[in-house]
Every structure is written in C-alpha cells, then in structure tokens.
Symmetry: C2
Subunit: 341 residues, 2 copies
DNA sequence: TTGTATGCGTTATCAG
DNA sequence: CTGATAACGCATACAA
C-alpha cells in the first residue's frame, strides 16, 4: 500500500493534523515543521487520497465536466480549454461522456453524489432542465450551449450560450442575400425536445418567412435512423434532398460535421461547390476549414466559451452569483457559397 | 444532504450491513428484506457514495481511461467503445485527458491513488515506461497503441497495439508498388523518445531501403513548431515538401489528420489528387473517408482495439494474467493514390 | 501554533 | 442469514 498522511506525520515527526494543515495551507504552520513535512512528502512520494478528501470535505476541489457526445469536435476544444484553466486554478477535473441516448440530467444527479464535485459543467444536451433537476443536483451548475426551460428560476444555474435562432437566421439570410431561394436544411431530427438544433431550424424558418419564402418540408432534413455518424447522416440527407429538389441551389447545415457529409454528397453526385450548390455549416471547426473546398461556416467563439464558462463557475463558487451570457458568432465566408445567378 | 445507507436501513427496518449486502449482492439476503431495501432505495432516491465506497473497498469498480490528447478522433472512438463495454460489465468509467506536454506516467500514478481505480487504460502517449513506473502505479494497466520499453518485464502490464513499423512499411511499399520513387513523409518530429510516429517513420525508411531507394532527409517531415494543430501542421509541412521536392509524386502521412492537412496543401497549390500527387494517411478515420476526394489510409481496427482492450483488462482483473496482442491493419484504397506514369 | 479525537459513508470482519 | 463494529484516509472542531 502507498503512503498515507499517517506515514508522513511519522516521518516528519509531527501530528497528522499538522501535515493536513501544510497540505491544505488552511492554517499557518511553523516554518521548520512545514519544511520537514514537505520533505517527507517528496521522499515518500505521497499523494493525498481524493476519495478520503472528498468524503470528509464539505466542498471538494473537483470539477466534473459532463459532455453530451464527446465525439463533437467543437466540444473537444472547449473541454481542452476549460480543463486547462481549471487545473491551473488548482481544481482537479473529471470528464464524463454521456451517450446520445443517455439522460444527462439523471447522470448529473448521480455524479453529483458519486464524486461529490464542487461544480458541474454541462456541455451540450437538451433544454429540458427543470427546477427540480437543479435542486436534486444541488451543486453549482454551468450549462454550456444550452439553457434550462423558461420557467426555471435563472438564479439556480449559470449558462453560456449563443443565440441559436438568431445565428442560424443570419446564416440563412446570408444565402438569401446571395439570391438563393430554394435553400435546403440539413439537420438530425431527433426525438428530443429542445436542442440547439431545434432552435437553429427555427432560425432557418424565420429567415425564410421574413423574406417571403415559403417553408417547404421537403427541403428540411430527414429523421435520424439507425446509428449513422454525423458525416454519414449529412451525406444521406443531402442525397435525398437533391433527389427531391432538383432546383435547390443552396444548403444550410446545423453543424460542420453535417455540412461536410452533405458537401461530400454534392461532389459524389457530380455537382460542384459552389458552382452548383452553395453550402454553409455551423461551428467553425478545423475540419470545415481544411475540407476541399473550405466550407463557409458560422464560427462559435470557442475561446470565449471556455473563458466565460470558467468565469461563471468561479463566480458561483466564490460569490454564489449566477450569470447568463450570450456569445456572438462570426459568419465566415470561405468561398463555398456564391451568388445565385 | 441526500440519503445515505443509514437512512435506507432505517426506512427498511434492517441494519446497514444488510443494505450493503443487497446493494453489492455480495451475500444472500432474505428475499422479503431485500425487497424492502430496494423499495427504500427507490423511494429515497438513494445513490451510493462512490468516494466512501472506493475508500473502503479493497478493489473499486472504477476504470480510469487516461487519454493522451483526446483531440485525436481515432482515440475518441476507442474511448466510446471501451466505455460502453466496461459500463455494461458494471464498472464505472472515468476519463482523464492528458495534455500533449504533460507526463502521462506521473498522472497515471497520481490518479491511481487519487481515485483508486481497479484498472487503468492508457491510450496513446509514448513508449517510455519503465518497471518502476508500473510498480508506482500498482494497478493493472493496459497500454493501448503503445508498449513499455523492451527491458520491462511483460508480466507487469498488458498491451494492445499494432505493428507500427510493419504497417507503415506496407503503406509505403504500396506507393512503391505503384511506381513511385520520390515519396514524401509527413510527420511531426517531436522531442519525445518513442511514439508510434517514430516507429512509423522507421517503417517508411525500411520500405525505401528494402526497395533500393535512398532515404532523403528533405523528403521527411519538419519539426513541430509553435502549437499548430494537426491539420495546420500537415498543411505547412506539405507546402515545404513540395517546394523543396518538385519531383515528389507521392506522400505518406503518419495520421489521417496530417494527411488531410497535406492534401489541402496539394489542392491549395493548384495540384490535383491523385493526378499530380498520390497521398495516403493512417488511422482510418471518418474524416479521411469524407474528405474530397476520399483519402487512402491504413485502417486501424477500432472495434478490435476496444474489444481486445476490454478483454485484456478483464483478464488482468479476474485472472491476474497479462496479455499482449498485436492487431492487423487494413490498407484501404479509395482512389487518392495512383500509378506513377 | 500544535495535537487529540471525532466523523464523513461505506464495506469487511466477526460473532451471533 | 443478520447485526454490531472496526476500519478506510483525511479534515476539522476543540482543547491545550
């Protein structure tokens, strides 16, 4: 068995409480004893047992990041950034992947008791949170890319999001501005109630309506079937859209992954981008930038997402204050969309 | 505060030991009492505290997955699969991301004491493990995609790998077989000692030598500078290779991400794939399949990786037996390589 | 400033 | 089959 606090105490010739004080720097300790303790820690290669700590502590120093579908490359960047910031601030970070079909709220509640984190970051998922959910979680939560329902008291949580409706509307209106009228919409129609995707479709529709263009169901994505991955789905969905709408000149996708799948379908069917079909994605991933040709996209501000999330978390932890920030996206024209002649 | 085992015991009218026995199904319990306990668990929404469990348990039921650079899409699939298998077997799974520049061995040792997992899966990283490392970790380890040094007693750990040298040699010889002679090699030359990349470069060289082609340094990748991502690096590296080797007709990349970056550079410089430059990646990611055009690649058997890793883990956990398996890859010709006229 | 003693929620041991 | 009870490793109120 490895060294415990007891061993350190013995080796340093002090009591375990003194060792604990040195390690947590909770109280001032005699300098000379402090050094003896540190020396023992080094020599015995002592690492405090987090289980015991979290069990005893009122507040652990662990942040849990719950990611809905870690496959999303956009999330990965955020995870990476947030982890770095939090670890620098002295927290240990744990990541949990939540399957597409898992109930992230239930898992959050479970994890909250399981690992006793002092804060939870919820990355992705749907908008279904209720007040009871937060009460059962009972740990400061920051929702990233999603919000709780409108009836939920906003003081119960923090959030960092974008305005999905407005951003997708912007994306669609960009195509409309280029003269497109028959604009397809690639998205995964799932069972779930309110996801960012749902909102984005709403934005797509709003854009059409505001410009006097009829919303046609046959231009809007197909339901997800089987367990296709994002690329596959985008591909199949696009094939179907092109078959049913020969006059379609442009397409908005709800994500870059879907956009790439759709773009591949365009090329596979012998059409060209952007000469025959204009296409724009959403997220701003490297994958879209390095695709051939580079795809236009609505860039989500990853760095801001990370920073604001960490900020919100610290604010909840230290000042018990919640916050809700809405970030701006940036439409990036890389040449995969062009005026409709 | 939420319900504890004590509350359940009281509610069910039994002792806490009985509750524990029901929950861990470690011993037979009277059927009627068992049901009373289960009912109380349900009604009080009881969730056992893992910290306390792991603290007390000789062997926790948690598997830790340590991933070196979670950004790698190949790793993500493995994580996903392994998690599923392990959770189905009743383990809880924790994922920890290890930064590119972090020392995964030190972190593994720390986590081993921190969270007291019953097993650790090490995904990626380098080949630098020593016997002391495993002794300090003191928890069954399965190394995935890497192995420990040759001097390390193989009974100290399990591993699931591919033969990086042979597979990359196969890839290179495929190009040679197509008549290519001036073949570039895209890889990130890092400080680290032995990574899969290093071995793959070795395979590339072996292929050339075995076929009487001189190995030329100017055809081999550039060192990584700054913090470019994989795509960016592949792109820049390829640009430089093309400048310095106008007669280069083909390129092998150490990963699909690098291959995509390189392919983008080919296109950006006005050349065509495969007419002007043949290109082949490594990994078999969806990204390479959905690129335009689809890229040839050496497919790593993701599903087998996941399955074998889980198998190896179970074998270590249940029978204290280590195993070392080497998987076969599959060269996939999708049309991004063609005979050199 | 320091040490002693108690308890966090569980599982394991032991005697019934 | 069951119920007390002692650990697990640590942080902290309390006493010194």
């Amino acid at each position: 068995m490895s060294a415990t606090i007891k061993d350190i105490a013995k080796a340093a010739g002090v009591s375990i409480s003194t060792v604990s004080r040195v390690l947590t720097s909770s109280q001032t300790v005699d300098q000379e004893k402090k050094e003896r303790v540190m020396k023992a820690v080094r020599e015995l290669n002592y690492i405090p047992n987090n289980n015991a700590r979290n069990l005893r502590r009122t507040q652990s120093q662990t942040i849990m990041i719950l990611v809905k579908t870690i496959e999303n490359p956009f999330f990965q960047k955020i995870i990476h950034n947030i982890s770095k910031v939090l670890m620098l601030a002295g927290y240990s970070v744990e990541i949990q992947n939540v399957g597409k079909s898992d109930d992230e709220i239930a898992i959050a509640a479970k994890e909250a008791k399981n690992t006793n984190p002092c804060g939870i970051v919820l990355l992705g998922g749907s908008f279904g949170y209720t007040e009871d959910n937060f009460k059962s979680i009972a740990v400061p939560c920051v929702l990233v890319t999603i919000k709780a329902g409108p009836s939920v008291n906003p003081d119960l949580y923090s959030s960092v999001i974008i305005d999905d409706v407005a951003e997708m509307r912007k994306s669609t209106e960009y195509l409309i501005g280029l003269g497109h009228r028959r604009i397809g919409c690639i998205y995964t129609k799932t069972q779930e109630a309110d996801t960012p995707n749902t909102l984005r479709v709403k934005g797509y529709m709003q854009a059409l309506e505001a410009n006097g263009i009829a919303v046609e169901p046959q231009l809007i994505g197909t339901p997800l079937q089987g367990n296709q991955n994002g690329y596959e789905f985008g591909f199949n969905s696009m094939i179907r859209l092109m078959e049913r709408n020969p006059d379609m000149t442009a397409v908005v996708a709800m994500s870059d992954v879907l956009a790439i799948g759709a773009a591949k379908a365009v090329v596979a069917s012998g059409r060209r981008i952007p000469e025959d079909i204009s296409i724009i994605g959403f997220d701003g991933t490297d994958e879209a930038e390095y695709w051939n040709p580079s795809l236009d996209t609505v860039v989500q501000p990853v760095d801001q997402f990370s920073q604001k999330t960490a900020d919100a978390l610290f604010q909840m932890l230290n000042e018990q204050k919640t916050s809700h920030v809405v970030l701006q996206c940036n439409l990036l024209n890389r040449g995969s969309c062009r005026p409709n002649p």
